[in-house]
């Protein structure tokens, strides 16, 4: 698993967090788990660096937080997407699509040689 683990590109974590929150409020641990599971464990979230990202997004008013109770009855801090966060996510998504396409175009010849 750890061999296939990918390093996050700078800023990607922020985008993934926003995307994860698109379907409802989640606490930090659930966000990390969700990203890992959705990516089928290809993306490993460094738990230690998740929180600085959350706090950064909150400061930018892209997400908001409040205390709640988790599935297993633990008090935890939940984050939800703000309207502004939604807007930013849309912008980031299209930028990301362009980026992926561009990288893919560059990488294509290498793949053809396989």
């Amino acid at each position: 698993m750890s061999d296939e683990r990918l390093e996050f590109l700078q800023g990607t974590l922020d985008m993934l967090v926003l995307r994860t929150l698109l379907f409802g409020p989640l606490h930090g641990h659930a966000i990390a788990t969700s990203i890992e599971q959705t990516s089928r464990d290809v993306l490993q979230v460094d738990h230690g660096s998740l929180y600085p990202a959350l706090h950064r997004l909150e400061r930018q008013k892209l997400i908001a937080s409040g205390w709640g109770v988790s599935d297993n009855n633990r008090r935890a801090k939940f984050y939800r997407l703000t309207a502004e966060g939604r807007k930013r996510l849309n912008a980031e998504s299209s930028k990301w699509a362009q980026f992926v396409e561009a990288v893919a175009r560059i990488m294509r010849p290498a793949r053809e040689e396989d």
């Binding site: 606490h27 930090g28 641990h29 929180y51 600085p52 400061r59 633990r74 008090r75």
Partner: protein
């Protein structure tokens, strides 16, 4: 740091770990395993928290708080270091702040008048006549010509100083002030706080019986009672109606702002209209009226000078002024002129304190470096634990800025204390002393200086944070030692500059006070007796008063001689005129001799201890017009004549003026200042010619101040309305005349002494530290047979080499810098070799003391202990 947010963060991370633990347990781990796995997965909690704080954007503030708290902890752990550092800085900053208050008050703050940058003074000078004065006021006719025609200015005002005996309000007092044109106050933009200013019609003889008084006189003599308006004041026995009281602090034309060219008008208390009489308006040769003009907006000084010059030229054609060539017009901005009086003096002091501050900084930088060496272990550990170098550097700078802020706070307190006692230390004649005070600008300056010095001396140790030596946890600090040595060299060099400057001023002062003044000041008491009341308008009455007074004073036990003169030496007053020597041509203007004229009673020379060199003193009954001249006068008026008694000359050049026969020759008296080469002097009998203001001089056989009461009683007995003013022993008059120089010398000497003390501490610190570092080496040397003597020499040599380098550099720097003192030196050159040598020796001796103690300690090292020393 926000505690709520911090608690929130703790709880959030704790919740995360708990959830992860729960999941791990669900997966079948033991609670113990679950906890480890969760912690491992999360990584460093502390780092995550730090990053969160940073993400919140308040990190710098939090860290500043941390740094500050940490700094305070380290200070508490090293109280000695902290105290020495804070005190050094407080010394430097307090001196700098106090002197900056003077710079601010005297040079930066605008004069307290409306648009002071548009005020100009107008005067004249003549470089061909040997006036001994830089600038003269103008004449009444010229003033009038300008006032009628000049277009470059809104208004021209003028004034001339006066003094009155104020009677009928308690004891008679002498008050000073000025006759001013009615437009003066409007021109300055100052209104009376009570009553009204002068009206234009009051500026003519007969309607000028009105006065304005100062706030100080109002409070002192009239209890600040507003009923003063309309009251009559008896000035020299003539009633004047008080029409207003000027605002507190208004001192124009006081010594500082008004720049009278007649000698000091200290603190004017009364103003009356100028109201020139018809005769006064015609006096073409009377340069008595100080002119001040307000330029129209947008008009430069140059244009005003051109216009005034052109008008003056037009006017003087065919007059007295035209005959005597070489007259020049001087137009200058009032604020420039006021500031130019003390600009150099204040800036020299400021330079001295700036040096002192730099030395203090070097010292503290040295202390910090020594401490950094001791803390290198701590720093290495913190680096290893993941602290960023930038973070460490910031921590060190925080520490040094905190130190300097503490020093600054203490310094400001010291400075305000200094400023509190300043007026009593500074010579009374210091102009605009009241402008020297703390204000927002001074405080801002102190704050800026504190922060800058903190960064300056903190820089060297902070930069060390970037040196790899720390990362390696190295015990060696070769580079650091070199930095410290360089700092000591700089410190010694700067101290030498200050000490040399101070020594020059001290030597100059010693030379000055040893200059023969031409009279003997010991056991002489003097006082001014203004005989200006109407009863003394007749000059015979004045002669009779003086004769009776002198006779009764001489009859007092303990009195050796009593005499009187119209202008005492060293009081700033003068009476100068050109003279004509019988039989000598007078066609070359630049060769016209000038002399000071004095009127004296017969015993004046004996009372003042002035030696008669040839001929005789004056008698009580001189029938013919006679005079006594000084040796310089004799030499200058009759060159090559060994004894000119019997020769004749006269004041001025009018044919109808009688010639005076020289009956005696006396020593030159330094009348204008101990540092001023005496002009030719002429003494005439007071029975021929006298002035209503005579000063009594009484020589006694013991302490003259004991006779003051008796003399006052005699004066009261003869006329109770004659005030005895300015009662001073002559020694005090002499001391006052050099008080400005003494004050400057003392200030610079104190700064130099402080610099020397700081240098001593600096050298001591570096040498004892370096000796301690070499303990191992020294132990080895001693084990191999070196004697204590050799060790002593080893350590001394290191220290003295630094001191010698500093002295060499400092001597060069001093040589380059001391010429700025030239204007303040008397009888000593700015490059006086003796002074330079003595200063260097003083510094080397100090350095020797500073090195000797650590050297002796090193020499007493026990080799066994030293070899085990790590």
């Amino acid at each position: 740091m926000n505690p709520d947010r911090e608690r929130d963060l703790d709880a959030e991370i704790e919740a995360h770990l708990a959830i992860e633990r729960d999941r791990n347990v669900e997966r079948g781990m033991t609670p113990e395993e679950a906890r480890y796995a969760a912690a491992r997965k999360f990584g460093s909690v502390a780092l995550a928290k730090e990053s969160c704080r940073e993400a919140r954007g308040l990190a710098w503030l939090d860290r500043l708080g941390q740094d500050v708290r940490y700094a305070f902890r380290t200070f508490r752990r090293a109280p000695g270091f902290t105290a020495v550092a804070v005190l050094s800085l407080a010394l430097g900053i307090s001196a700098t702040t106090a002197i900056f208050s003077a710079v601010n008050g005297l040079l930066l703050r605008p004069l307290p008048y409306r648009d002071p940058d548009r005020l100009v003074t107008i005067g004249v000078t003549n470089r061909k006549l040997q006036l001994g004065l830089d600038e003269l006021p103008v004449t009444a006719p010229l003033l009038r010509y300008w006032r009628e025609r000049a277009t470059s200015c809104e208004a021209i005002a003028a004034f001339t100083p006066i003094a009155y005996n104020l009677t009928g309000a308690g004891d008679p007092v002498r008050i000073r002030g000025a006759r001013v044109t009615a437009n003066l106050f409007g021109l300055l933009g100052v209104k009376p706080q009570l009553g009204r200013g002068f009206r234009a019609e009051e500026d003519q003889p007969g309607r000028d019986g009105v006065v304005l008084i100062s706030d100080l006189l109002w409070k002192r003599s009239f209890g600040a009672n507003s009923a003063i308006l309309g009251r009559k004041l008896l000035l020299d026995g003539v009633p004047f109606t008080v029409i207003g009281v000027m605002p507190p602090g208004f001192q124009y034309p006081g010594n500082g702002d008004g720049l009278t060219l007649f000698g000091p008008v200290e603190r004017p208390d009364v103003w009356k209209p100028l109201a020139l009489s018809t005769e006064e308006q015609q006096e073409h040769g009377n340069f008595t009226y100080q002119a001040i003009a307000r330029l129209k907006p947008g008009v430069g000084v140059e244009r005003a000078r051109a216009e005034f010059g052109a008008l003056a030229e037009q006017y003087v054609k065919g007059t007295f002024l035209d005959i005597q060539f070489g007259w020049e017009l001087l137009v200058s901005r009032l604020d420039d002129k006021v500031a130019s009086r003390f600009r150099t003096a204040v800036l020299v002091l400021f330079g001295a304190v700036a040096l002192l501050l730099l030395i203090a900084c070097a010292n503290v930088a040295n202390l910090l470096l020594a401490r950094a060496a001791r803390r290198s272990g701590e720093m290495a550990v913190r680096l290893a634990l993941g602290a960023g170098r930038l973070r460490l550097m910031r921590q060190l700078l925080t520490e040094s800025v905190l130190l300097s802020l503490a020093g600054g706070a203490l310094g400001v307190m010291l400075a305000s204390g200094i400023l509190g006692v300043f007026p009593s230390l500074a010579p009374a004649s210091t102009p605009r002393l009241e402008a020297v005070a703390m204000d927002v600008r001074v405080l801002a300056f102190a704050l800026a200086v504190s922060v800058c010095t903190g960064l300056l001396f903190g820089l060297a140790p902070a930069l060390e944070a970037f040196r790899p030596a720390w990362g390696a946890g190295s015990k060696h600090g070769g580079r650091r030692t070199r930095t410290r040595q360089a700092l000591v060299v700089v410190e010694v060099a700067l101290s030498l500059v200050l000490i040399t400057g101070a020594s020059l001023l001290i030597k100059s002062f010693v030379v000055l006070v040893q200059t023969p003044a031409g009279f003997r000041a010991e056991n002489v008491v003097t006082m001014l007796l203004p005989l200006t009341a109407p009863a003394y308008r007749d000059f015979v009455k004045r002669v009779l008063f003086m004769r009776e007074l002198i006779a009764s004073v001489e009859a007092q036990p303990g009195v050796q001689a009593a005499g009187a003169i119209d202008m005492l030496p060293l009081t700033g007053e003068n009476n100068i005129s050109d003279i004509s020597v019988e039989g000598a041509p007078r066609d070359d203007v630049s060769q016209v001799p000038i002399a000071e004229f004095r009127n004296i009673t017969p015993e004046y020379f004996r009372a003042m201890g002035i030696t008669v060199r040839a001929g005789r003193a004056l008698g009580e009954h001189e029938g013919a017009p006679v005079a006594i001249v000084s040796r310089t006068a004799a030499r200058r008026f009759w060159p090559g004549v060994p004894d000119p008694t019997g020769r004749r000359f006269k004041r001025g050049h009018e044919p109808e003026t009688p010639y005076l026969t020289v009956v005696g020759i006396v020593d030159d008296v330094r009348s204008s200042g101990l540092d001023v080469v005496p002009r030719p002097q002429v003494y005439q009998p007071y029975t021929h010619n006298n002035n209503p203001e005579m000063s009594l001089a009484v020589r006694t056989s013991s302490d003259p101040s004991r006779l003051i009461a008796a003399i006052r009683a005699e004066i009261r007995r003869i006329d109770k309305d004659v005030p005895a003013m300015d009662v001073r022993v002559m020694r005090e008059v002499v001391a006052r005349s050099v008080s400005g120089r003494r004050f400057q010398m003392l200030l610079v000497a104190v700064f130099a002494a402080l610099a020397l003390a700081l240098a001593l501490v600096g050298i001591y610190g570096v040498i004892s530290y370096s000796a301690a570092q070499r303990t191992h080496e020294i132990g080895l040397r001693m084990a191999l047979g070196a004697l204590p003597r050799d060790t002593l020499a080893l350590v001394l040599k290191e220290g003295m080499a630094l001191a010698a380098a500093g002295v060499a550099i400092g001597a060069g720097a001093a040589f380059a810098v001391t010429p700025v003192l030239r204007g303040f030196l008397y009888g000593v050159s700015a490059a006086d070799a003796g002074v330079f040598a003595v200063s260097a020796l003083v510094l080397l001796a100090t350095a020797f003391v500073a090195c000797y103690l650590p050297a002796r300690r090193a020499a007493a090292t026990d080799p066994l202990v030293a070899l085990r020393y790590e």
